[in-house]
Every structure is written in C-alpha cells, then in structure tokens.
Symmetry: C2
Subunit: 396 residues, 2 copies
C-alpha cells in the first residue's frame, strides 16, 4: 500500500491520461465519415512519425502480425532473405521467413552487440540471390540499436529490400524512413506510441510497393495493397480497432506537439540517466555501444538470480521491469524507458535495482548513484538533443 | 444538438460504462502473474459463453483474422471445403479458403434465405472428398440465422469438420458448441461482447484440434496449437491486447451476471420489437424466416435511396444504422440490435426510419407502430425466453 505500481517494461508502457480517456470513448461506426476524417488526420501525422510520404497502414494485430504482414506480402516462397540475428526478435524474423517458405541466410551477431554494416555489404556482394535484409532497429531483447542508417545506405545500392522492425524504436529514436531509404518500416502500438497493444503500423517504399503489387500475399488477413486502397477512403480493409485509433490521435497529439526532436532528446537523456545510474551502482550494460534509446539491458553479477531480483523489485518497490529472454534468462534486467515514462520513473527503477541487489545478493548500498544519474540526464538534455549515439559525447 | 448519437449498426456496438472504464485502465505487463490471473478467470467464463470445455483462444485481430486463423490452421492446400454462400460473409469464407489454396465447393443460397440442411447432407454424401463445411451462424449482411444446430447434427455423422463464424451471434443467440457438435466456433469483440473491435475468440473441438496438430499452420501469426500452449500459462503467443482483455472481464460480468438465458431472451424480444415495428410501418423484412436475434435487415420500398435514408436518419435523428452491402447496397437498412442496445434504442431506430421515409420518399407517417413494437417486445419477454425462432409463436 506504500507503493504506486510503476511499469518500466519495454512494452507495454504506461498510458497518458489523454490516451486513457480516448480509449474510453464510446464507439462510433468505422465505415462512416466521422471516423474516416479521424483516419485522415491521423494519417497526416503518421507520415511525420515515420518520416515518409508513403501511406502508413494501421493493422489490427500485434507487432508480430505486422512482421508477418511484411514477410508474407513482400516475398514469394523460395526467395532468399538475409536475417540479422542479434537477439530474440532477430530469431523471430527467421521463423517468420521460414514459415513463408523462404530460404533464410542468418547473419549471427553476439547478443548484446550490433551488426557490422560491412558484413551485410559483403554478404550482399557474395550472394546476389538475396532479395532482402531483415533486421531490428532496436533489438528489444538486448537493448541494442542497430546501425540502420549505415545499413540502409548499403542496401539501397543493391536490388535487395531493407525491412526494418521498428517496434521498440519508432517514436523513441530517429528513423526517418524516406531519408534513410528504408523499404519497409513497421511498429506496434504499445511502445513509443504509449498505447495498449493491438494496433500495428506498417509503411512501404515505392520499390517495396512495386514488389508487393507483383504478387498475391501469403495470408488473407494481411493484404497490404488492399489495405492501401481502403486507407484512401479513410478505412481499413477489415474492421478497424476503433478505440486504438482514438488513442493514437491522443498519443500523436503528445508526441508531435513540440516535435519529435524533443521526444528523442528526452529518450536519449533517459538512456544516459539509466546507464550512468546503473554504472554508479557498479553494474555493466549488456550493450556496450549502439544502445537503444528506449530499453537498457543491465547485466547482473554472477550468482544473482534475475527472476528473484525482479520479483523483489515488483513486490517491495512496485517497479515492474523485464528480465532476459531465452539464453539471457536470469542474467539481465531490462529497464523499459520508453513511452509514458520520465526521469522520476527511471530513478525508481534504479533505486529498486540497488535495493533488490542488497536483499537478493547481500550487496551493500550504492552511494550517490541517483544524483549521478540525474546529472547525466541533465547533461544530456543540455547537450545536443536528437543526435545519434555514435556522435554523442555524454556516454561515459 | 437536440439528438444524442445512437449506434445501431451490427457491430461495432455501443459500450457499457463498466467496459469503457475497464478500457481506460492503466497498462500492466502481460507476462506477469497479475495479468495471467485475469486471463484464467476470463477463460473460465468463456467456456460458458461458448458452451464448450475446449480452450477459447483470444487472438489480437478482427473477426476476419479469426476466420483466417481457422482456415489456415485446419486445412492444407488442396483440400476441398464446402462453403455456404448466403451473403457477404459467406463469400468471405470462400475468398479465405481460396487464398489458402483449397478447392471450394460453393452452396449458393439466395441472400435473405437460410440454407436447407438437407442440401448439405446431400452434398456431403455426393462428395466424400469434402473435408469441412464453412458457414455463418448469423449472416450479418442479410440478418439470417442459419440452422446450425440441424446442420451440425448432419456434419457430425461424417468425417467433415463444421466451422462456424459466430461473429454476429455469440452472446446474442444460443450456440452451445459442445452440445451442438461444432468443430470450430469463432467470434469478434465488437458484437455481442460489447467491446471495441480488435479481439477475436476461437475454439476448436477435440477432432478439430487433432487435425490442427497434424499440420503446420499456413500463417505464422495464426498458430492455434502454440496459442493453446500459451493459454495454459495464462498468456497469448504474441503480445496480448491487454485493455481489451480488461474490457472482456467487464463485459462477461454483465453477460453472465444473470445468465446467458436472460441475454438471449432480451435479444429475442428486441428482434420481435423491431420486426413488429417495421411491419407496422409497412415494411417487409429481408429474412422471412430464420432471422438473426441481433441484426434485422429491412427491405426498402422501390424508389427509396437507402443511402439517403440512412443519412437523414443519422443527421436529423442521431441514429446510425447500416445499409446493404454489395448486391444489397441501397436496397435494405440493417438495424443492429446487439450488444449494449435496449428497447428504447430500437424505438429510436424505428422512429428514425419512419420519419426518414417521409422525408426521403414522401410517405405518410405510420400510426401506432411504436406501441405495436413495444407490445411485441413485452409479449416476447413474457413468453418463452431463449427458445429458437422456429418454435416461437410471436413472429407475426
């Protein structure tokens, strides 16, 4: 009863009040002009969010549904794709591609590391049969931000398409689709967009549209060309998740009010806060470089049971964070600092981690780590907002 | 400003206040025990709603997603299925089946009529290669309720599976899956369940599960065996539409508080209300017999522009109803009296129709039709609730 519950998982994230009120709106019919007008106004702003002039299609599904839509709409069975496997969601690209009957070339990357763009260039040069590169912008399972800008510059020089899972990244760190030359960008509602899960967004480049139109999609439910035709009328092909569109209106109001640059600056500053605070506690990050602006994976000391630590953090301090998945299970704690999360929530997470380490592992209390964290946050905010991690000097 | 807006479309339906407040709840994490406990409690009650002891799987998609999940999980390319085509959603079964590479035998039924069960028996006898019968319980486009009970008794004697789209029927009229021997029953959230769209539910019989387990599903996103494994842990395979599950809790509270029998009795009585009122206005129903308990399609007199009538009803009287689809476009008006709709909403719809006929078609005002409608409602409520239309004597 002394604690509020704080959600700091890498999705779903807490919801702003205006979004919650929008979700509670009474229903209207999705095939009438009132709703179509909402769809048009949302569409205008989604172009800004995605950095594209292509239509941004809303789909009634989770993020994995949008990944399925991409693979089943863009590739025919028998085609070869290159999948960057740097974590659990890279693995998922491979699973989806195989389920579509694609030949999958895996580029394995150590979990916690980013892929080297040159390796992709080499593989594309060696294997001209590869018709696409599939990867994550943010690999949610490791907290790594992939160098998509550099990779896109490489892939754009070839005939291959670049398909980017932006689920934990869109609205969190920059990913201007058209400027970077991404062929397919998708996201889910429960991350940077601060909505409940259940809505996905996907956009294709002109050359990806050309490919999608040349074939019949592999799954009836995911028909992107017909979705695009519906969107021209302010509709979706099948029944629209109406109240998530209401919520999306409200969430775009927040994200675009001051502009995305400020959103990214806040995300970057929270990333600095969490990293500085965790280091001051004496912990190391899983991602040494190229780290996500929305989720930080912290390696736990040998002998600490990650599951137990998360349980103590939740039950004693009301802070809900995520653990590791698959081979990282029990070994890391992931703080989601995306969506409707601010500096104070991050401090709560750091405090809960420090206290739980004492209770679970017998560690002594860290000192000054909360102040150190806030100093890093303030320094980041005062610095260059919106710059990419590679050029940020506030890392250490 | 004089009118409240009333939504009487056959989905989405208005939302009860408790559902709206549930939808507005702040987010919790879907992989934690708090949420898993909610999923377990919801599951117990879904067994009652579906009349089955099989798991009722929640999917993050529209109703068409669940139809896709059924076809892609139960059939291999090359199999033959029998599709009852009695309206737009029967057509959709055919489209989905063809997209999966199935051979589709169409049993065409005049739009507005129910299928004759004997015809299905004959076709199954003549074509032993047919591995399933696919149909709607309620064909939303025509307001017809198919005789699924009789059909199920026929199909159960064969090796074929019976796949029933219950989207506009579950929670509206009886469909006890196990008792009737239905092999696959599915629904969407925005109809009898009084929720926003975006959640679908699907259940399989033991013999359908056996089939599903013998094959690999045709679409990565719709993997029913893996969904079932997740549900055992109180989870969904991919990210759960958390706030629709909150809403589902609230809606099942309403539906099951007094028992489904009372819900069906109310639905039946509203059906009688609408039919009696429309007849008293001088209109005929599209479905002469075997009519849905949740949507009534009313044929418009020659020369009346259905689109214009609906527009007047909405703009002048605040009543939003649906028109005809495809070959019925402009020719019918469909009153959705399902979900969070009561007798007074139905009166508003009848009044709006009568007034709009005067304004659009120059008809003179009907007399006593509202009282006639209410008398039919009260008679139905006082009669045998929950009986099937065939045995109801209050039809005329």
């Amino acid at each position: 009863m002394f604690n509020k519950q704080r959600l700091l998982t890498p999705g779903p994230t807490p919801l702003p009040e205006s979004v919650r009120l929008a979700l509670a709106r009474d229903m209207i019919h999705h095939r009438k002009s009132d709703f179509e007008n909402i769809m048009f106004s949302v569409q205008d702003r989604l172009h800004e969010l995605f950095g594209t002039s292509s239509p941004v299609l809303p789909l009634a599904c989770s993020g994995t549904g949008a990944m399925t839509a991409a693979v089943y709409s863009l590739f025919r069975p028998g085609e070869t794709v290159l999948v960057v496997n740097a974590g659990k969601f890279g693995e998922r690209w491979g699973e989806i591609a195989r389920s579509r009957g694609l030949k999958v070339v895996i580029l394995d990357v150590e979990w916690g590391q980013a892929v080297e763009p040159q390796k992709i260039a080499d593989m594309l040069a060696a294997r001209p049969d590869i018709s696409a590169v599939l990867l994550q912008l943010c690999e949610t399972s490791t907290g790594v931000l992939q160098p998509v800008r550099e990779i896109a510059a490489i892939v754009a020089k070839t005939d291959a398409l670049l398909v980017v899972d932006g689920i934990s990244a869109v609205g969190i760190s920059p990913c201007p689709m058209d400027e970077w030359k991404i062929d397919c960008l998708l996201t889910g509602s429960q991350k940077g967009l601060m909505l409940p899960p259940g809505l996905a967004l996907i956009a294709l480049s002109p050359r990806a549209w050309q490919k999608a139109e040349s074939m019949s999609p592999g799954c009836f439910y995911f028909n992107l060309p017909r979705e695009r035709d519906s969107l021209k009328k302010g509709q979706t092909l099948f029944t629209t998740p109406v109240n998530l569109i209401f919520g999306l209106q409200a969430s775009l109001d927040i994200l675009l009010e001051k502009g995305l640059r400020d959103v990214y600056a806040k995300q970057w500053a929270m990333t600095m806060l969490v990293r500085a605070g965790a280091r001051a506690i004496g912990l190391e990050m899983l991602a040494k470089n190229d780290y996500s602006w929305g989720v930080t994976a912290i390696s736990l000391p040998e002998g600490i049971d990650g599951g137990k630590l998360l349980q103590v953090a939740r039950e004693k301090y009301g802070v809900c964070m995520a653990g590791g998945q698959d081979r990282l299970k029990g070994k890391i704690v992931r703080i989601g600092h995306m969506g409707w999360v601010d500096w104070s929530d991050c401090l709560a997470a750091l405090y809960a981690i420090d206290r739980s380490l004492q209770l679970v592992g017998g560690y002594s209390a860290a000192r000054d780590y909360l102040e150190t964290a806030m100093a890093a946050y303030n320094l980041a905010l005062a610095g260059q907002p919106g710059v990419l991690p590679d050029s940020a000097q506030v890392r250490s």
